[in-house]
Symmetry: C2
């Protein structure tokens, strides 16, 4: 019997645990699910005969070492900054590790030792990063095989509410970690376009948009996501003139979100004075110039360069940021205050379904000199509040990768991303059975 | 004979070393000047019979321990992030420490031990922080003595080029550490106005200005500097409704500097691709949207919301940021590239003199109910390229504090700022002999 240890039983673990338990009997697996909250773990395992729920704390070294030493493979859904602790224990006891997070510098540093011990630490095998890599690499390798010259690659992903349930003025609800949504994009986005490097500072990120349309799903917009440049090497397209990875939102979301960025409400680096007793209106006012004359609404409109009757002011008012309700959060950062408010207002309601949208756009020149555009699009909708599109698209690639690894079908070692055919081919194939299927449209560009 | 160890013999040490050596004979002192570059130290000591120049490296623990163990008092002009290493050694060997830098959290943590050992770690005893504290506290204590109610305190300081030598389109030259000027203001500025807390994110800081005039010196503008709120407690004015500390520049400087902030050129957190072979024009273009149609000048004007014939575009062009010269700096951050360029263009030329401007503005209500404004202003001009206003105003408070401490005239212990009468009274008095004198103007406000 093979043993799988899954660390973290939060919202995004549902589909993964369901997949693992569904395969446990046939594959002869035992799955141990560890979470800080044993109740979370128990809910997910639901007394499955080949599952065990345990209380787990990665900072409890004795406990962590004991559990990791007993397993064959570790899947970490811990907060990204804690993966490296799981990785250290995996290294110590010679265990494979899978995560859906970006390769951290700490884990990258373990590369030589991981290889030496014949282990695989496979990262970025969720949705974004994850399915984006799988599907992009499949296309890149196919184009390379045909000796096509890739001129441009743009890739956008968004986790959204499904259109049928999109009923608030922001056209957005939280379908994954709200904190990550509030802090998204901090730092500088980097990409390359027609050979020119572009750097977009955070305070201009949500104005730096590309329009994306998806037949049948309407108008979206994408903003550049983190460091696209690093993926030139990862994807084996070092000399591509245009490469941009971005995040997708419904049209008009970004320019509205930008109001929070301009105000300074997404800052998580300092604590506001007296945040507990402040009202949301006072919170908003604390980012605006002092005035004995102008209302908060007027100062806000002035800052944003709009009139007070602009829809954006109404959207902000709808959230309660101009109202007199008390915040009630002691020693809170601006980002924490904003997050608490948005979690109430942007909650997925009972019955709501989420939706994942991904689109890759390749410009290439064929070996015969034809200029073509290949668009590969994915839309996944959630089944229900637990088996969400997000949980499926993050969890299933992890689950399938774990299966392939335990079946001995992956013989790669090292700290890797899923850009190898022996990983992406079977995973993309199996994902189709779960309705996760890309639609490709290829057309010649008129000269 | 008392021994003084001065760490760091850079540009701002000149007036301090001159002061210490001038007093060495009468006070029976020996002054050891240590710098990473022994040549710098030797130049400053100039074979003075009571001075010694040594090569010094705070990271060489053996050397540092040896020198610090032998002295009576340490004055650290090291880079601010290295003071705590000097502080650790001072604690180990029971030595007093003086610095002109903000109290760091590391040094603040040593408070109990410093007190226990009967030592004084006196920080923020330069110009800003330094003379601002001395002079502000003298006024605050005076107003408190008169039972006046202080309603507002604003304080601005600027290190500028003297008007006679102010001959470039930016009305600014470097009179101190260029890196600090380029990175100034990163983070969030915090202050309070009429009881309302205000938080200004970096990307709006240089638009968040107050106009200041100084009779005979023209128009200035000030932007809020770091965390003013913390000084309510330091100054013993916890309930003051308005407190703002700021940085002073010539009129129009800030809105021009804001162009660099908007572009993203003051970021020091990442390295640009191929920075060595890039031209300054390409550097500027890397922060602007890609276009096959518009010129860099047009895109820049668009970003800044001005026309291409606006004086700001000319100012930016004057620096060379739109030109085709190669940068030549490998693996450089945006801030490093900007700094290198500005250091050439904003250099103090031979014969140029600098100028320090400081202004405190107090609003208070007297015990009889009269509402008054008290303005206390300081202007100091440099003597020459070495005895600059900056070197004098940073160095002399340190030198005088060292003298008072060695004469036994300061009996305070702990990690302190110079807000105590036994420190500020004699230092302000002696500074007057060096032409560092505040002019107070008090007037009743008409109701």
């Amino acid at each position: 019997m093979k043993k799988i240890l899954l660390l973290g039983a939060g919202r995004s673990s549902y589909s993964l645990i369901k997949y693992l338990l569904a395969h446990a009997s046939k594959e002869n697996w035992h799955i141990t699910v560890g979470d800080f909250s044993i109740v979370s773990a128990q809910e997910k395992v639901a007394n499955h005969p080949q599952g065990t729920a345990i209380q787990f704390d990665i900072n409890n070294t004795e406990l962590a070492d004991n559990e990791i030493s007993k397993t064959d493979i570790v899947i970490s859904l811990l907060p990204p900054n804690l993966h490296f602790k799981a990785a250290q224990a995996c290294l110590k006891f010679g265990k494979h590790l899978l995560t859906a997070s970006y390769v951290s510098p700490e884990i990258k540093k373990m590369e030589a030792e991981v290889k030496e011990k014949g282990l695989l630490f496979l990262n970025e095998i969720g949705l974004d990063p994850g399915i984006d890599h799988l599907s992009a690499m499949q296309i890149i390798d196919k184009l390379k095989e045909k000796n096509a010259k890739i001129a441009a690659f743009r890739s956008y992903t968004g986790g959204l509410v499904a259109p049928e349930y999109d009923n608030n003025p922001w056209n957005y609800k939280f379908t994954w970690n709200p904190r990550n949504v509030v802090l998204a994009g901090r730092g500088t986005a980097k990409y390359i376009i027609n050979g020119q490097y572009k750097y977009v500072p955070y305070h201009r990120l949500f104005k730096h948009l590309e329009e994306i349309t998806l037949d049948g799903y309407g108008a979206f917009e994408g903003y550049p996501n983190r460091d696209s440049l690093a993926y030139r090497e990862v994807y084996g397209i070092a000399n591509i003139p245009t490469l941009l990875r971005g995040t997708l939102r419904k049209k008009d979301y970004c320019i509205s979100w930008d109001a929070f960025v301009q105000l300074g409400m997404t800052d998580d680096s300092y604590v506001l004075e007296n945040s507990e007793n402040m009202t949301y209106r006072e919170f908003t006012n604390s980012f605006l110039q002092y005035s004995q004359v102008y209302l908060v609404e007027e100062k806000l409109a002035h800052l944003l360069g709009i009139n007070t009757d602009h829809p954006l002011i109404k959207k902000i008012a709808w959230l309660g940021l101009l109202g007199h309700e008390k915040i009630g959060l002691p020693r809170a950062t601006p980002a924490a205050i904003l997050q608490q408010l948005l979690e109430r207002k942007w909650k997925l309601e009972e019955g709501d379904k989420d939706m994942i949208v991904m689109q890759h756009i390749f410009d290439y020149e064929s070996v015969t000199g034809k200029k073509c555009t290949l668009t590969s699009s994915l839309v996944v909708k959630g089944e229900n509040e637990q088996d969400t599109a997000m949980a499926k698209t993050v969890g299933l690639p992890l689950g399938i990768a774990a299966k392939l690894l335990l079946q001995g079908k992956i013989d790669l070692t090292g700290v890797l991303m899923p850009v190898h055919p022996q990983i992406y081919t079977p995973i993309l194939q199996e994902l189709e059975a779960y309705g996760i299927r890309f639609i490709e449209v290829e057309r010649e560009v008129s000269q």
